[in-house]
Amino acid sequence: MQAVLSTLLDSFIVISHCNIKVLSDLQQGKLRVGKERGYMAQVFHHGPYFWASTPGLPPGAQHSWSWGPNPGFDTSSLVATAHPLPPIEGQTGVERRLAVTMIQSHRTAADSHFVHVFVRNVGSTPVGWYEIYISGIRH
């Protein structure tokens, strides 16, 4: 373990000064990694959540998806992606492009926890159908 940490420490000095203190503490036994404390992070994946409308989400428009109160994400790091879907019949012949522009963690005055994911149409044509996935790693 010490040898591994030494190698990591040497590598990270070049990559990022921010990690030096953490790795140095790990090396000296001041910090303990998760495995030593007897737990493992959990990976989770939710979806697809499906959105449909006619005529669809216009270019430049944005949706806010919200999970909560208290969806169990409060000790998690999260990632989300929205995928435009093919049309029901044939091909649209146009590009459709969506972006998750922001993920917010929100705690209310009553200490309820919400997560908000913002999906924006960054293309030039409406998006009538899309699906969104949210995934994360829970401490």
């Binding site: 449909a52 409308s53 006619t54 998806w65 919200s66």
Partner: protein
């Protein structure tokens, strides 16, 4: 399967959101004036497999041909129902 319908006061559906049953429920912002109602999935999509591309066809059918009716419990009914909206 969870089905959320964003609809106007007459029950006309503007957006529909479908989520997997074993995941935390999600809601989506709606335009001012729209209402959001969780509805019982109609028979047409009760057993929908969201990973199947054909599911879009069935959801589109619901989007085009159903409206929200909220009585004792919210549900989707055919637009040509006797309620006559």
């Amino acid at each position: 399967m969870r089905v959320l319908a964003m609809h106007d006061a007459q029950g006309n559906i503007h957006h529909i959101v479908v989520g997997p049953p074993d995941s935390p429920p999600a809601v989506v912002t709606a335009e001012p004036g729209l209402l959001v109602t969780e509805v019982e999935a109609p028979e047409e999509i009760a057993d929908l497999d969201l990973s199947d591309p054909q599911s879009q066809r069935q959801l589109n059918e619901v989007l085009q041909n159903f409206r929200v009716e909220a009585q004792a419990e919210a549900r989707l009914v055919r637009k040509a129902s006797e309620a006559g909206y």
